[in-house]
Symmetry: C2
Subunit: 194 residues, 2 copies
Amino acid sequence: MAEQYFKTFIEHLRETIELTTSDIDKILEVVEIVKLKRKEFLLTPGQPSRHMRFIAEGSARSYYLDENSQEHTLQIGIENWWINDLYSFLTQKDSQMYIQAIESAVILQISQSNLEKLYREVPEVSTFFRIKIQNAYVALQERMIENLSAEVYIRYQKFIKDYRDIEQRVPQYIVASYLGVTPEFLSYLKKKHL
Amino acid sequence: MAEQYFKTFIEHLRETIELTTSDIDKILEVVEIVKLKRKEFLLTPGQPSRHMRFIAEGSARSYYLDENSQEHTLQIGIENWWINDLYSFLTQKDSQMYIQAIESAVILQISQSNLEKLYREVPEVSTFFRIKIQNAYVALQERMIENLSAEVYIRYQKFIKDYRDIEQRVPQYIVASYLGVTPEFLSYLKKKHL
DNA sequence: AGTATTTCTTAAGTTATCTTAAGAACCAGG
DNA sequence: CCTGGTTCTTAAGATAACTTAAGAAATACT
């Protein structure tokens, strides 16, 4: 059954870069599988994020707690999404984030040291992550702009339009904390706009 | 006098990567100089951003207008900062942004096609921009987190702490539009906290 | 299937932020 | 150094979003 996860993973990489069968062997050699139950953590604050992590099954999110212990969800992902505290991974500073399974999940991950080795052996992998980071930047800027400009309900509508599949699998309080509002207020807005 | 701008520019690159004199020649060959008066535009909506732009003198910002014609400032920069709509530059989609000189400014820019040529001739330059984009991501995530967590006045204090030199040269309504509030409200907060 | 846990809703009272409008202060450029 | 444009302040009234608390609904796990 690990086989199926690997197969999907390689297909995912091949959407962006070209890989020979020998490349694939080198990649799979360094991929670790992690299984998580609902609500289990992959990363908690106080340590650097040392892996690039790919959701093979289930769903996960990254979030942090502000000074008032309010949760703020930075990222929500399902199968075939990457999930990480890229900030911590890139700077190797201690993370302030939790990465947590929402549903039970299977994660494929590559450690930083293995990744660097892989970059040398399969340079295409380096291209892959360069593009991923660019895309992450682009997505984050889009979200920043929306947060500055649009009212919550507009942002909510955009969210369910863009991520209907996610919205249906994730508790609403997580969506609220992604949008940057209290669950009570989101609930109120939904009723108001019926 | 262009010489001085080039010199500072090369010094800036050398803070991140190593360059031979022949590398430098290749770089300077493709650098264009653009001079702008206060409030002049380097980029306006409806066209892709086709250059990487470095502020050699003066100050500039990028901003966009939301549906209610409210300005939102994404980036503010002074000497030795890069300024761009990276979203548009990376995706080559039409920009929705204005890039505008705040004070009169001198910009050094490299076109996308020249940059690609340069990447081949001086691969270190590619490393330079990979690192810059990573840093941009990291900075943007930090800002996103702050916007989600902290109240405006806290964000304002952080802003003047981190960017005192910028704050002193830039009109307050631009700072307000960077923080995501109306100038009236920022004015009110400043008085309140005297 | 039954119970404990988790998530969602409602509502009342509160606070943060916006809108509008007008005058005051400041500054750039002739 | 004058003058027109730009930026900043003030204040009143409006709206968006939050807090708290409690019950209702949904869901997970045994």
